[in-house]
């Protein structure tokens, strides 16, 4: 057994609605994620992707079932600060400038100032916001805000990176560029990445495996291994195998 294998076992999640009703978000979800794997979660809106991510990150306790990461509980892993999360909506602190928003988790992890500055510079550049470091979030466009959230998680360089539709507000080109950058980072750092997206080509391009969830209640409806060569570059997108995978996943999706 290796570093950060994630085992999701019989996870059920039932929310209590405001009016006392039960909202079943996840139903008996089972999934094993290997260490250093890049895995994508796909599924219609409201099927429980965010919920599953939050359970893995110990931001939510499953109603029943369990998640273990290399034999430890998500809580243990969280306490060891191994998670980095890109939230679905960027979750920025209004009172901090862009740079200081990116800096925040590093401050908490007591990363030395110099190192922090270097990382901020690097990730800001990566997400194309070099010139906006000293603005406040509300002065930025939606897509720019989203990129701050991405930069913040990347600057942290966590062992397990959970990304919830990180590129949804970005144009195709920025998105493709960031896809490649992300893969480079992943290759170098060997993180485990769980990546939620609605973009099927994106999931194929990035992942070792694509997990398709079906809604109401959320359950795993298909797991597709992506046996495409690595390192992957933008040329991959033109290859027929690529399209086969996209088609295959689209199909498994349609059954939903």
């Amino acid at each position: 057994m290796n570093g950060s294998e994630i085992q999701i076992k019989n996870v059920n999640m039932i929310y209590k609605g405001k009016r006392g009703e039960d909202i079943v978000a996840l139903n008996d979800v089972n999934l094993d994620i290997r260490e250093g794997e890049f895995i994508s979660l796909l599924g219609p809106s409201g099927c429980g992707k965010t919920t599953l991510l939050r359970i893995i990150a110990d931001l939510l306790r499953p109603t029943t079932g369990s998640v273990t990461i290399n034999g430890q509980s998500p809580k243990d892993i969280r306490l060891q600060r191994k998670y980095g999360i890109v939230f679905q909506n960027p979750v920025l602190y209004d009172w901090r400038t862009v740079r200081r928003n990116i800096c925040l988790p590093m401050e908490i992890m007591k990363i030395p100032r110099k190192e922090r500055t270097a990382r901020i510079d690097k990730t800001l550049d990566l997400v194309g916001l070099k010139d906006f470091g000293y603005e406040y979030p509300f002065e930025l466009s939606g897509g720019m805000q989203q990129r701050i959230g991405i930069a913040r998680a990347l600057a942290l360089d966590p062992e397990i990176l959970l990304m919830d539709e990180p590129f949804s507000a970005l144009d195709e080109f920025t998105r493709e560029k960031l896809n490649e950058d992300l893969l480079k980072i992943w290759r170098k750092t060997k993180k485990t990445i769980i990546f939620v997206t609605h973009n099927i080509p994106e999931s194929v391009f990035l992942s070792d495996r694509v997990v398709v969830l079906s809604p109401h209640p959320g359950r795993v409806s298909a797991v597709v291994d992506i046996d495409l060569p690595r390192p992957r570059e933008s040329s991959l997108r033109e290859m027929p195998e690529f399209y086969e995978y996209v088609a295959k996943i689209r199909k498994s999706f349609e059954g939903v």
Partner: protein
């Protein structure tokens, strides 16, 4: 709508004069139309108060300084305690459930009942006065701060939670900055209240202060000094309020922008 400094000054001037004129008219009405024998006590002419104020400005200023400085100290301590209690209550729902009813109860103990106990514990009049001023001040700060701390959105907390941030850091980096605007709302209520609290503790046998002037003038039926003192306390309240407003603008730059954006309407 962005209001310029000049406009604001004009608005303040218009408000001031119209209140002045209104009170003049009311006082006139009371005295000469209603022929109320107590008119001078009920509502003296504002200009007479103003004249008394000017004639006694030295002594009122002296008294004001005593009262205001005590108010400032009491406010400082009260705000500190208020914030502290709010933090404790926000740390645990149980603590809140335990503490809040008792905080309400504590506010029901009048100074007359409390003062002897405080004296007995501290045995120093001046310190006792400051403690009592703080005791009167802390509550609104606490309530507002608590409501700020409780209004922090879950996803903002999740961000820090996900990297196992210590409680201390969560408060320092998130809860406090987020609650600042709530806190300042509380402080804006508490600051003028600290003036009233300080005036009240002046009456605990203090040698000087606006409270002493008010008490003595009531007892000796010197209505004009009474009203001038009341006016002084009101002015001190406005002053303290503006101190908080200015502090807010200095300390919360992101809010100025955010609210301007909302107000910047076509």
């Amino acid at each position: 709508m962005v209001i310029t400094k000049k406009e604001r000054r004009m608005v303040a001037f218009v408000w001031f004069t119209s209140i002045f004129v209104l009170l003049e008219v009311l006082a006139f009405f009371l005295m000469f139309v209603m022929k109320d024998t107590m008119a001078a006590a009920k509502l003296p002419f504002p200009h007479t108060i103003f004249i008394v104020f000017v004639n006694n400005w030295r002594s009122l200023l002296e008294a004001g300084v005593i009262t205001f400085s005590r108010a400032a100290i009491g406010f400082g301590i009260g705000a500190g305690v208020g914030i502290f209690l709010a933090v404790i209550m926000s740390l645990s729902k149980t603590a809140e459930k335990i503490a809040f009813p008792y905080l309400i109860m504590s506010q029901m103990i009048p100074v007359l009942g409390l003062a002897p106990i405080i004296f007995n514990i501290v045995r120093d009049m001046n310190l006792s006065r400051i403690i009592i001023a703080a005791y009167i001040t802390f509550f609104p700060v606490s309530v507002n701060m608590l409501s700020g701390l409780k209004s922090v959105e879950q996803d903002k907390k999740d961000l820090l939670y996900s990297i196992a941030t210590s409680k201390f850091e969560v408060y320092r980096k998130l809860m406090f900055p987020f609650s600042m605007s709530y806190l300042f709302t509380g402080l804006k209520i508490a600051a003028p209240m600290a003036v009233t609290a300080s005036i009240l503790v002046d009456m605990l046998g203090s040698r000087g202060g606006i409270g002493v002037r008010i008490l003595y003038s009531l007892y000796s039926n010197t209505t004009d000094i009474f009203w001038a003192s009341v006016m002084t306390s009101a002015l001190m309240g406005i002053f303290s309020f503006y101190v908080i407003v200015i502090a807010e603008n200095l300390l919360l730059p992101w809010r100025r922008g955010a609210s301007k954006k909302d107000g910047e309407k076509v």
